[in-house]
Symmetry: C2
Subunit: 280 residues, 2 copies
């Protein structure tokens, strides 16, 4: 039972097909076939039912899959800890909301680099809900998300406190649609709650993928947005955007760094926590 075989098993189960797995593993499909067959030969059992619809786990396949997930997870965790202990500095993969990444992280990561020069840090951005799912599934080590945080499942330290404002165009302050990130973004949820409190639940919503895009549209007069004050002030077209305060409780949002409760932080992660705790 080799590790590569188990990884292949997971990839097939996840993508639902041999060719999909080959793609995600960056190898050819005949390879996936051969690895799965090696596993099947080893146990003398079919692991996948093949069909046009794709590959489906058999009962035995399910059991093997469950074990493989556990084992690979333990293996990865052990390796991470050891790499960390080896002084080489285990990589730290972070997630962050788009706005936080734009406004807060550059300075923070610079300070982190100063304190832990050896470690490499990678960053994925996305809305709070997606980030929490990634942390839950161990796809990333930790993430910056908007509070509040479910403390039964995640460890958290407060990282920043944002003041949310309404960014609008001076020309037509109350018109146009709400420009927001896709569902899952906590600022969008806050914006909708605010509009609801004003009896404006029917406001049209335009989804956009990036903060720059949203603020650019606001500057162009296409609508208004809810975003952290810092982000709006730092925008490219800040001079064409008017900032209006939001009433409480919508105005104040804490951003937390969160990670799985059973996740042992690597050195870079510990340093990050220290920096945040010393700073807040």
């Amino acid at each position: 039972m080799d590790i590569v075989l188990l990884k292949t098993l997971l990839a097939v189960a996840e993508t639902g097909s041999f060719s999909g797995a080959a793609n995600s593993l960056h190898c050819v499909q005949s390879n996936v076939t051969s690895r799965i067959r090696r596993l099947e030969d080893h146990f003398g059992q079919k692991i996948f039912l093949r069909g046009k619809a794709g590959a489906k786990l058999t009962d035995f396949g399910e059991r093997l899959h469950a074990k493989a997930e556990d084992l690979l997870q333990l293996f990865a965790a052990a390796e991470r800890e050891l790499l960390d202990a080896s002084g080489a500095g285990a990589p730290l993969s972070l997630g962050s909301m788009e706005t936080t990444a734009a406004v807060r992280l550059p300075a923070l990561l610079k300070r982190l680099k100063g304190r832990s020069p050896a470690s490499s840090v990678s960053l994925k951005t996305g809305p709070t809900a997606d980030l929490l799912a990634m942390v839950r599934d161990r796809k990333i080590d930790a993430a910056f998300v908007a509070g509040p945080v479910d403390s039964t499942r995640f460890n958290a330290v407060r990282a920043f406190t944002e003041r949310l404002v309404c960014a609008r165009n001076p020309a037509n302050p109350d018109n146009g649609s709400l420009l927001a990130f896709r569902t899952g973004c906590s600022y969008r949820a806050t914006a909708q709650a605010w509009l609801k409190s004003l009896g404006r639940s029917d406001t049209e919503i335009t989804e956009m993928g990036t903060l720059d895009g949203i603020l650019g549209c606001v500057a162009a007069g296409l609508g208004f947005a809810v975003a952290p004050e810092e982000a709006v002030r730092g925008a490219r077209d800040a001079d064409q955007i008017e900032i209006a305060p939001l009433p409480e409780p919508f105005a104040t949002v804490d951003t937390f760094l969160v990670w799985r409760i059973d996740h042992v932080p690597v050195e870079a992660h510990r340093t990050l926590i220290e920096v945040l705790e010393g700073h807040s």
Copy 2:
């Protein structure tokens, strides 16, 4: 981090030398060197301090060793369970006291074979203390040992009840030395306790490795032995051996099948338990 590398690490740590590990792994020493180096390269850390005195784990090596032990153990347990679930029948490795193996196991294993034809069973013999150590260290799945059993660490089912007797030569019934297995054999301990109760603690003890040897010597008039009645009756030279009863509490000894409390029995093992429970 490959599994073979971790196994090699354990072997070097256990034998205390690269060449010793090569020997125990049935490969050449240069192989061991290369595998350990692969590990060391991977983590950028020395794992062993090499010296004339042998190989000693570094601090980092100790951590890696601890993790490797855990991971390999989990891997092996998972594979065992899956092989068992696959219907192929996971192998069952048993241990047994020499006398039990000679007198009781043939019939028992035949019945087991009848009920679980697919599974393969292997057997190691040794004294009770060694067997318990092997079960503790997961070298074997289960063992037949003399009671009583520490039930906080082992699961146990009673397998047989032996009546211990004193086997002696009719010609010189009370002379000669006690012929016994080496230290760790529970019958030997019983024999010594009995002799002590008779005020004969000073009786000379001759160690022998096999039951046949012991009984052969008894027949030849070299001494006497304490052994299960069945074993003595079935001996090759039974007609030249006289059987004398032992007083209680020395006469009755239960033999148990024991296994680690955290060990999940495979199919052949479960069948064996059933047979023993149905029979006792």
